[in-house]
C-alpha cells in the first residue's frame, strides 16, 4: 500500500501552481459581461451558442482510416449505423506525402500502405469511398495538410457533382493545419510553409464564394499537444497559425475580415488528462479568439464563435491494462462536454497498440452517447461557469497563451518561427520536460508507471487487436495501374499543364485542380507539380 505523502506543490498537468481552494477573492477582478458573458455572446467564454446542447448535442466522430478504400468505407458505414453522423477521413502516409503507390519510396514499403488510412489517391478512390454514402447527409472532415487540402477539396466537390448535390448543401471541414504538417507530423519534401499559405488562401477565397457550409480551416492543437506541450502553447500556436492565414487573405485585397472570419473560426483541440485545466483551456480559447480578432482586425464579434472539435489525447492512454483507458477517455469526454465542444473524437482503449478495433471504436461512440443521454450534463450551458477555480484557471491559461503568442510575434510571426525551427525547439523543451516527469513518476499513469499489478512483470489483457488489410498496398497499386491505362492521358497532361501555369500565376488553384481531379490525375502527379513549382522544405525534426 502506498503511504499517502502530501506533495509539496500541487500543479496542473501543464504546470500551473494550484492553491488548496479558490474563493471570490481569486475572481474579484472579473467583469461578468466583459469577461464571461452569456453563451452565444461575445466573448463566447461560456460557449458559441446560447442553448448549447439543448439545441444540438456535440457530434460524435470517429477517425476512420485504414486498409483499402473499401475497408475505410465499411468502417464509415459502421460508425454511421451506430449513430455517428460524420466522417473524418484519414489517408495513408503515401497520400500525405503526395506520392503515388508506384513511387520507389512507397514501393519499398508497400506492406505499410493502409496502416494510417486508406490510400485515397485519385478521384476514382474517392468514388469508391463514398459509394453509398450521401454527401448531403454526411458531415465530412476532409483532413489534409495545407499542401494536400486543395486536392481533397477538389475531389470532394467532384463527388458532389456526381451525386448531384449542390454546393450549398455540402457541410464539412478542411484542416490546413500548419502545426500538424510542419511540426507534429511532417514528412520529407513538403511545400515550404510560406508557399503553402497561398494554397490555403485560395481555399478560403473559393470557400467564401461557393461553399457556405464548409469551414476551410481548422487549426489543430491536438497533434502538437501529443508532443507534450502545455495547454497554453497548444492554443497560442493555433492562433499564431491563424494570424498568418488571416494576413495572407487580407493581403490579397479582395476580402474583408468579416467576409471570412466565420469560416476560419474552427479549432481541433486535445482533451488531455487534467480535467479542470482542459475545461479552462476550452473556455480560454473561445475568449482569446474573439478578443484577438476584434482587437487585431476589428472583426465583428458575432462572427467570432470559435467552434471546437475535441479529440481525447491518445498519448494519455496506457499500453498496460488497456481497458483502464475506457475510464480515462470517459472523463476526457466529460471535460470536452463541460468545456462546450461541438464534436468529439474519443480515442479507443487500444490506442497504444494499433488502429481501433471495431469493438473499441464502438465503446468510444457509446461513451459519448452515455454522457449525452444519461449524465444530465447537457441540460445547462457552461455548468461550471462561475466556479471560482474554473474562472480563475480560465484566466490563467489565457494569460499564458497570450504570453506565448507574443513570443511567437517576437520571432517575426508564425511562419518565421516555423521555418527557423524556433517553434520546434520550444516544443522540444516542453516535450522533454513532460517526458522526464513520466519517467521519474512525478506524472503518474495508473497501472503503467505507478501501482503496477506486479513489479516489472507485464500481464496484458487479451484484446482483439485490429489488423489492417495486408493487401491494401497491392490493391492500391493494381488500381493505380488500371487507372493510368483506362483514363484519357491526353486530358491528364493538359490538366497538369494548366495547373502548373495557374500555380505560377496568382489565380485561384481550385478550379484547375478540380479539372485535374476530374481528369483522374493522381495525387502523385499533383504532388510532382507542387514540388516543381513551389520551394520544398524539410522539418528540423524529421525523424
Amino acid at each position: 500500500m502506498e503511504t499517502k505523502k502530501a506533495a509539496k506543490e500541487f500543479k496542473t498537468a501543464s504546470g500551473i501552481p494550484l492553491k488548496n481552494v479558490y474563493t471570490p477573492e481569486d475572481v474579484k477582478d472579473i467583469d461578468y459581461s466583459k469577461d464571461i458573458g452569456l453563451p452565444g455572446q461575445a466573448p463566447f467564454t461560456r460557449g458559441p451558442y446560447s442553448n448549447m446542447y439543448r439545441d444540438r448535442l456535440w457530434r460524435i466522430r470517429q477517425l476512420s482510416g485504414f486498409g483499402s478504400v473499401e475497408d475505410q468505407r465499411e468502417r464509415i458505414k459502421l460508425a454511421m449505423k451506430a449513430g455517428g453522423a460524420g466522417v473524418t477521413l484519414l489517408s495513408d502516409f503515401s497520400t500525405y506525402c503526395m506520392l503515388d503507390i508506384d513511387n520507389p519510396k512507397v514501393m519499398a514499403r508497400l506492406e505499410d500502405v493502409g496502416q494510417n488510412g486508406a490510400p485515397i489517391n485519385s478521384l476514382h478512390d474517392w468514388e469508391t469511398l463514398f459509394d453509398g454514402i450521401p454527401l448531403d447527409q454526411t458531415y465530412t472532415a476532409v483532413l489534409g495538410t495545407p499542401q494536400m487540402t486543395p486536392w481533397n477539396l477538389a475531389c470532394w466537390l467532384a463527388i458532389a457533382d456526381k451525386q448531384g448535390v449542390p454546393y450549398n448543401k455540402l457541410a464539412g471541414t478542411g484542416q490546413n493545419c500548419f502545426n500538424t504538417a510542419y511540426v507534429a507530423a511532417p514528412h520529407a519534401d513538403e511545400v515550404k510553409p510560406s508557399s503553402a499559405l497561398r494554397l490555403v488562401g485560395d481555399i478560403i477565397e473559393y470557400s467564401v464564394a461557393h461553399l457556405p457550409h464548409f469551414v476551410p480551416v481548422c487549426y489543430s492543437g491536438y497533434n502538437i499537444r501529443e508532443c507534450g506541450i502545455t495547454a497554453w502553447e497548444e492554443i497560442a500556436a493555433c492562433f499564431a497559425n491563424a494570424i498568418a492565414i488571416i494576413d495572407e487573405v487580407l493581403s490579397r485585397g479582395r476580402l474583408g475580415i468579416d467576409d471570412f472570419a466565420e469560416g476560419i473560426s474552427a479549432i481541433h483541440l486535445a482533451a488531455d488528462r487534467d480535467f479542470f485545466e482542459e475545461i479552462a483551456k476550452f473556455r480560454a480559447a473561445r475568449r482569446m479568439w474573439c478578443r484577438l480578432l476584434q482587437d487585431r482586425y476589428g472583426a465583428k464579434a458575432e462572427n467570432l464563435k470559435l467552434r471546437m472539435h475535441v479529440h481525447t489525447l491518445g498519448s494519455s492512454l496506457a499500453y498496460e491494462e488497456p481497458l483502464n483507458n475506457i475510464a480515462r477517455v470517459s472523463y476526457q469526454v466529460l471535460a470536452l462536454a463541460l468545456g462546450g465542444a461541438q464534436s468529439q473524437n474519443a480515442s479507443s482503449y487500444d490506442e497504444a497498440m494499433s488502429a481501433p478495433s471495431e469493438q473499441a471504436a464502438l465503446i468510444s461512440i457509446r461513451t459519448g452517447q452515455i454522457h449525452q443521454y444519461e449524465s444530465g450534463i447537457t441540460s445547462v450551458a457552461d455548468p461550471l461557469g462561475g466556479s471560482y477555480l474554473v474562472e480563475w484557471l480560465t484566466n490563467e491559461v489565457e494569460k499564458r497563451a497570450w504570453d506565448f503568442l507574443k513570443k511567437i510575434d517576437e520571432q517575426g510571426g508564425y511562419i518565421a518561427a516555423l521555418e527557423s525551427g524556433w517553434l520546434h525547439r520550444e516544443f522540444l523543451r516542453s516535450l522533454l520536460d513532460n517526458e522526464r516527469k513520466f519517467q521519474s513518476g512525478e506524472k503518474k499513469m495508473v497501472g503503467a508507471n505507478f501501482l503496477r499489478k506486479d513489479d516489472g512483470e507485464e500481464e496484458v489483457l487479451p484484446v482483439s487487436c485490429f489488423r489492417g488489410n495486408p493487401k491494401a498496398g497491392e490493391i492500391a497499386l493494381a488500381e493505380l495501374l488500371k487507372l493510368r491505362q483506362e483514363r484519357d492521358n491526353g486530358r491528364v497532361k493538359e490538366a497538369l499543364d494548366e495547373l502548373r501555369t495557374v500555380c505560377r500565376s496568382k489565380d485561384n488553384v481550385i478550379p484547375a485542380i478540380k479539372k485535374a481531379a476530374e481528369a483522374y490525375c493522381t495525387i502523385g502527379e499533383i504532388g510532382t507539380v507542387w514540388r516543381e513549382v513551389f520551394p520544398v522544405w524539410n522539418s528540423p525534426y524529421l525523424l
Binding site: 506492406e111 496502416q115 507530423a185 516535450l431 517526458e435 503503467a448 507485464e458 496484458v460
Partner: protein, 140 residues
C-alpha cells in the same frame, strides 16, 4: 560492451513514411544523455538503413515501428546478407502485445512498446550492444 573506449553508436531510423517523431526523439535524447552517439537516419528504406548502419559503423539500430513488420524482416535479411547482423537491432512504437514476441523471434533483440522506461532501454542497449548474436531460430 561496445568497442573498447568508444561510445556506443546508435542509428535511429524509421521504416515508415509517417512523420511521428516523438518516440525516436525522446529515446535519442535519453541515449545521448547516457553518453551514446546517435545518428539520425530519418525515413529510410530497409536497404538504406542497412547501408547507413554499415557506413556509419554503428553498434545498434533503433527502429521506430509504425505498421507492418515486413520492412523489419527485410532489414534483418539484408544485414545478414551483408554480414552485419552482429549489430543490435531494437524496435519501439505502437506494437501490440502479440507482436512483441513475433518481432523477437524475427531477430529484433529488444522491443519497446509505448510507456517503456527510458532507463530500461538504455540499460538494455548497454548490456547487449557489441555482443555477437547467435542467429535467431526462425529464418523463414
Amino acid at each position: 560492451m561496445a568497442k573498447k573506449d568508444k561510445p556506443i553508436k546508435v542509428l535511429m531510423a524509421k521504416t515508415g513514411l509517417d512523420g511521428h517523431w516523438r518516440g525516436p526523439m525522446t529515446v535519442s535524447m535519453a541515449l545521448r544523455d547516457a553518453g551514446m552517439e546517435v545518428v539520425y537516419g530519418r525515413q529510410l528504406t530497409p536497404r538504406e538503413i542497412a547501408e547507413t548502419a554499415i557506413q556509419e559503423d554503428v553498434d545498434v539500430i533503433g527502429l521506430n515501428v509504425c505498421g507492418r513488420y515486413e520492412t523489419i524482416a527485410e532489414l534483418l535479411r539484408i544485414l545478414k546478407e551483408r554480414q552485419a547482423d552482429d549489430k543490435l537491432v531494437v524496435a519501439g512504437g505502437t506494437i501490440p502485445p502479440p507482436d512483441v514476441k513475433a518481432l523477437k523471434e524475427m531477430g529484433v533483440a529488444g522491443v519497446f512498446p509505448p510507456g517503456s522506461s527510458l532507463e530500461r532501454i538504455v540499460q538494455f542497449i548497454r548490456e547487449n550492444a557489441g555482443r555477437s548474436k547467435t542467429k535467431a531460430s526462425s529464418a523463414k
